[in-house]
Symmetry: C2
Subunit: 403 residues, 2 copies
């Protein structure tokens, strides 16, 4: 069996933890499996490097920032190889050049294009544990790139796909995927299995266990993911195409996202193409908007509201205000104190009552809904941030997810 | 003009120092020169990485140690590029893969085989300052290697050779090459020029400014070296094939090496081939021995003494003791409290009185000589370590080097 395992920065943050991860991987190796391990940079080392960079240049060139940052994972993999050697197991560390992991040229946010699996296969045939730097790649100029948020997860899934690995285990600080964030909904239950699509919606909506890029990639190549804890040996959650339960649960989870804000563009012309123009200027700046609500429009003007990640709001407002010539609006309003609450589940496709049940639960909890967005397997509502925890609990209870 | 500059770890040890080096390089760039800069890892960062490695494995695999260590120079070059960018100058950092710098496969002590200069030339044509990781290379397996002691100097000289650079400036914490170590001989004088051969003998004999590997390489490819201070703008010392002085100085410098020990192999058989056998077993372990003295031999046995670097003595003694079957000797004696004192100078080839003058100076200072070794441009004597400073001063004075 070929197993790809990914450990994040916290899991390799100290020599002791590196040793623990080494032992855990060797257990699998000793069962006769081919083991490939993808690692992130140690604990805070990336932050330390960024702080050093900022001292020299508050706005460092992205190419050089990637060159700097990529050293972090190289430190992790070489130390891990040493740890494994001290435990009597042969391991070999490989960086992005050595694999090689080819990416697009965009520094700081590159996309994986192609992974050469020859070197990895050769080392596995030689019965070595192969340790690979996560988060990084090489572009067509032979320059180092990094993959942006969730990069190491993406590396692990891509390698699993390239090797046709049997499983790709993503080790985190939680036991698996829950029906809701246990810090918000204390009686949330761990899921045994979940589909890619459900996981995608949960990832996108702020469940925070896996980044959506890695789930998308896993879905595309049919890589079986296992999300599990690096701290204990519990089973974790399997993410795959179809789940085995005959009687599927109506919904698989409740997600809360408090890192979104709402922008309302007030008084735009009530004519076709206005929404397109607004979202076009934002898209050109690489700003993804999310839930959209367009007011019905009374007379000459209407309002368009949408949500977006909090860290892009200032930029979006500036772009809009610089585009008044083209967009013709009265003003821009921003609300920071909002939250998105979602229910996700493949089961809802064939169950029309889900939305009604969710809205009823929120109504009974006296929580106001300001915007609604739906997909085939997801319903998202915008509510006041102060109501987020109560709302999540109410919806979680209404669907009986704690059972 | 193409200029290669090399700065060591101390010169880039803090963000402030990195900024100073950046400014210094930009001065040269602004004169219209093509500037290539080779950097070592920041200050103590290499020691920190080794300490981390030793926590995981007291005897880490050398391949992985090189993988780990090579991150240090990558941090230096990327930070330097950021510093230059903040000063408005385009720079590009390149690691060993990107150059590429091909080496032999020996981890920890690889030799440079070939440098591809295409990428460097391309970036120079684009009017960028090119920043290159010193000390590291890539072997035929695509694995990272390091070059061992003096590695960054060697990188700089090799790149200067590959680019046919006009000069290769080695920046250190001293002003240049002196007639003796100024910490030992206070009235030592800085040399304006010195030949490769003289520098080689000074380097080998512990003057410590340049490693002999880099000088050998410079001599082989005729690279003009300039040894100068990173702390001030003084002229430094030029190292080249022929020096311009018509009336050459008799000797160019006095070198003291206190990092050598003496091993005496007592009571070996007085027959041909004994010395060969001893040095053969040591050579096979990669131990270079230095000054050799073979006693005249009385009766059946004789003694063979030689010097070698202090850090290899324990290993050498162990090897000798494990080879008694083959070597047949009574015992091995070790003396740690010895020093090598040398005078070096191309001028002595045509001046037979140099040795006599040196011995006279030591005799007048009441310093005993236990072994003597000579080459065409060097005379080395072994003396008690306690006499090293007095001896160096006496010889320096006798040749009037302070003038």
């Amino acid at each position: 069996m070929i197993v790809v395992k990914k450990f994040g920065g916290t899991s390799v943050g100290t020599p002791e933890r590196i040793m623990n991860v080494a032992k855990r991987c060797i257990e699998d190796y000793n069962k006769g499996n081919d083991v490939v391990v993808v690692l992130s940079a140690m604990g805070d080392s990336t932050d330390d490097l960024i702080a050093l960079a900022k001292q020299l240049n508050p706005n460092p060139p992205k190419r050089e920032l990637d060159m700097l940052m990529s050293t972090g994972e190289q430190v992790s993999v070489s130390l891990m190889a040493m740890a494994m050697a001290s435990l009597g197991v042969r391991a070999v560390s490989l960086n992005a050049f050595q694999v090689a992991m080819h990416t697009t040229h965009t520094y700081g946010n590159a996309r994986l294009k192609r992974i050469d699996s020859e070197r990895i296969r050769h080392e596995l045939e030689d019965r070595k544990i192969v340790l690979i730097t996560g988060f990084q790649g090489v572009n067509k100029y032979d320059d180092v790139t990094t993959l942006g948020r969730g990069g190491s997860d993406t590396t692990a899934v891509a390698i699993a796909a390239a090797l046709h690995a049997d499983t790709c285990e993503i080790y985190t600080d939680v036991d698996g995927v829950y029906t809701a964030d246990p810090r918000i909904v204390p009686n949330a239950k761990k899921l045994e299995e979940i589909t890619y699509d459900e996981m995608l919606d949960l990832a996108t909506l702020g469940a925070g266990v896996l980044h959506n890029r890695s789930v998308e990639l896993a879905k595309k190549y049919g890589v079986k993911l296992i999300v599990r804890s690096s701290l204990n040996n519990s089973e974790g959650t399997i993410v795959k195409e179809e789940t085995k339960l005959v009687e599927r649960m109506l919904i698989s989870g409740v997600a809360v996202d408090r890192n979104s804000d709402r922008i309302s563009v007030i008084g735009v012309k009530n004519e076709p193409g206005v929404a397109f123009k607004i979202f076009d200027v934002l898209a050109k700046a690489g700003i993804n908007i999310d839930v959209i609500l367009q007011s019905y429009g009374q007379g000459d003007t209407k309002d368009i509201s949408f949500t977006l990640p909090s860290d892009r709001v200032d930029e979006a407002v500036e772009i809009l205000n610089n585009s008044t010539d083209r967009l013709h609006f009265e003003r821009v309003d921003v609300r920071h104190d909002i939250a998105k609450l979602s229910v996700v589940g493949a089961g809802m496709m064939s169950n029309p009552g889900v939305a009604a049940k969710m809205f009823e639960a929120l109504y009974n909890a006296n929580i106001n809904i300001s915007m609604i967005s739906t997909s085939e397997i997801r319903i998202t509502v915008l509510i006041d941030e102060k109501d987020a925890v109560r709302g999540a609990q109410a919806v979680h209870d209404a669907f009986g997810l704690e059972d």
